[in-house]
């Protein structure tokens, strides 16, 4: 079956198998490997993307559901003005270690700051509570998102 959707600002048509997830078509069919698979069951958030302006785990979205949707991945988000600020802050604050979870955190931070430019500490924590990081202890990730919010507000 074919699905048609808006991917990173461009119309896309791709053939999908019934067992495939949005994550699979992004990574395997469209070479967008910035979106990572950490657990395959919606626990870790490494596969976070924006779907119709909402944050989703792409491992939990069946590929056929994407038909007609708008999808934004890290490859696109990191090049938007807001995304660039978030990426800069993650780099300068030491919020990146092994990096496997990082694109997911950047997408979650983008989803937050897009609608709330000046979040409280608790709002930042809530926004990334669906993302797991095993390296950093989160302190510097929260700092990075705060720094990005200071830059934009």
């Amino acid at each position: 079956m074919f699905v048609e959707f808006e991917l990173n600002g461009k119309n896309t048509r791709v053939e999908v198998e019934d067992y495939q997830r949005l994550l699979d078509i992004l990574r395997d069919k469209l070479n967008l490997t910035g979106t990572k698979e950490g657990c395959g069951e919606g626990e870790c958030g490494a596969c976070s993307v924006m779907m119709n302006d909402l944050l989703v785990n792409s491992c939990l979205v069946p590929a056929f559901q994407v038909d007609g949707a708008k999808i934004e991945t890290i490859e696109y988000i990191s090049k938007t003005p807001l995304g660039e600020i978030i990426v800069d802050s993650f780099c300068s604050e030491g919020a990146v270690q092994c990096g496997f979870c990082t694109p997911g955190f950047v997408v979650s931070a983008y989803a937050l700051l897009k609608v709330n430019a000046n979040p409280t500490e608790q709002e930042i924590k809530t926004a990334i509570s669906g993302n797991l990081c095993r390296c950093t202890g989160y302190t510097k990730i929260v700092q990075a998102i705060r720094k990005a919010s200071e830059k934009i507000s």
Binding site: K36, C44, A46, P103, R134
Partner: protein
Amino acid sequence: MEVGKNVIREDARSKATGKAIYVADMKMPGMLVGKVLRSKVPYGKIISIDIEEALKISGVHTVALGKDVPGRNICEIVFDDMPLIAEEYVQYVGEPIALIAAENEKAAWQAMQAIMVNIEPLEPLTDPELYSSKDAPLLYGDDNVYAHHKIRRGNVDEAFVNAAKIIERTYHTAYQEHAYLETQGMLAVPTPQGGVDVYGSMQCPFYVHGVVADVCGLAQSRVRVVQATTGGAFGGKEDVPSLVAGWASVLAMLSERPVKVILDREEDMMSMSKRHPSRTRIKLAADKQGKITGAEIDVLFDGGAYSTLSSIVLWRGTVHAAGIYRIPNAKVDARAVATNKVHCGAYRGFGSPQTLFAIESIMDEMAKEFGIDPVDYRKMNLIKKGEETVTGQTIGDSFGLWECLEKSLEQSDYYHEKDRLNSPENPVKRGMGISTIFYGVGLGSGGTKLARTGAYVSIQQDASVQFAVGTTEMGQGMRTVLGQIVAESFGIPYELVSCLPVDTSRVPDSGPTVASRATTMSGRALVSACGALKRSLAKAAAEKWGVKSKDINVADGRATLASEPNKWLNWDELVAEAHAQKKDVAVVMHDSSPPTSWEEESGQGDAYVVYAYATNIAQVAVDTRTGVVTLEKLWAAHDVGKAINPQLVEGQIEGGSLQGAGYALMEEYMIDNAGIPINPRFAFYHIPSVDDSPEMHPIIVESAYKDGPFGAKGFAEQPLMGIAPAVANAIYNATGKRLRTQPFTPERMRAALRGDNDVC
């Protein structure tokens, strides 16, 4: 100055934008999907495996059994007991019994369903305490013991006869799962010369190199291993990547196509090495003032089905078992034994978190016997400079233990705060607890044959510098820190320096990237390589000026004539001169670790070249209605010798401490009495999220290590190691209840509050 600066890590941007390439992101023309069929039985005899139907499935290329392995069907880690693919017996749930290579996932999964496996189940051994019982099956050697390490110091029997106070306690710890966000994976590509190139996620490319050559029956010269960006390891990518690379390589050789094997989370958790569960029994003797006079410690580690790294993990646990206290008489016996469960291996701390939990808990329990504050009790018994550890090693310079203690006490305001946190009417009880620990840097005398590092440094025509080492980046920031060391050695800006990827064909064998050794040991090799190049640059300047090279000083990015300080060549001029004169501009240097010593029977000797030290002060809240324990605040002071990059040091303290908090409070991988894994998924094995992260106060102490690069010593495992006892001690301070089984789940906490001591 580039050392001591928070330079931005070189890989941060590529990772944050999703451009960094991990092995799962790699593609090759004609690449096949590799899958592993695994045992569902914890212990059994393989009667037959019928692959005929599987081979008929369209898209299936290869199905390989143990007998099809072209070389030796052994994945040798320390000993050679583990098969690459089980051939006669299966010994744990998750053990590989067949490999499949197929055109796509769907065909591979269909093949897995179609393989008919007949295994005769046998009665498994799941309780490590029963390793020597007469009904236990023989799983390893003639006694099921992977290793038995000892320490014999002074006269323990006499110490107990003369003691004013004796207490004996038993502590238990659970499995811990690394939960690196990137699961294990390898891509193997056949080469035109009949060899194989391997790309993947790993800590130890030279281990992988040896095993791939061995299982493929190839000369080591035909095998090349390249580390891909590695998404976290924590010890979990020390031993088992050799297995994964072995599977991918065997499939690639048999299929004559590139094969990529990426584990899914469930099979990764079920079948990859874990932190050893443990039981530690300690008997402690003290004189009438409370000074410790003797310790008798018996340790048992559940090693699982194969030996992998158990022997050396246990050795570190043994050396750290009596803590960093003055104990004149000690007897330690530590054993790692075989069971029909997943093999256990390396995990941040490497056997020491288990034994440190026990000693750091019983120190508080003994303090209580004397009515002395646990901090004051430690001050009475902690080693001072010039005194000996329990292995008889004299502690000399680079001894920041007391500074860690003082700084963490000061910043947490421990003496004032700890008794002011509670109010009788509040059902949420608060308290503070401490741990004071040490960490032997590097492999120590348990791993001297591996204790070599190599470094390649090359100065390019344009005066930029390229370097390569054989130790790996797995997220800790090694590439950046080593770049700072190279920049500092020449006195040039960090921006001029680049680190090459690890490739076994290009980089000298540097042993494993474990034991917090990369900064110290690769750093030493780099400093020595840069020194050789500086001598070469001095020759170029000398020749230009017609003087002797001993009259030239190369530092701060230039060459100066000693007699005329105003006469100098800047870095660009100096490098251009060296290239023009065809002087050496590239060099490979090896460095060996400073000496250690060990006497096997007595467990006496200089176990490690140097130690790092830490103090953790934890503040917890215990909700007595639910049993939920929250780590609210943590002061973690670490003596790192010299912080080459303070921001990265803080990152290790914060991240390692939170892994330690997970170990203390929530992480418990479970295998039932029948040998069946219960929770091999993130949905059921919980690691800390941002909501579990405490208010963190990292404190950096710098007590320079003279043999380390710019004074640095490794420490990145240490942040995890002392959190569980600090939390247990804080829980006691808050509630008067002592938890001796980790993790301190709400169930165990409630049982303790009810007075049910059997479960806590």
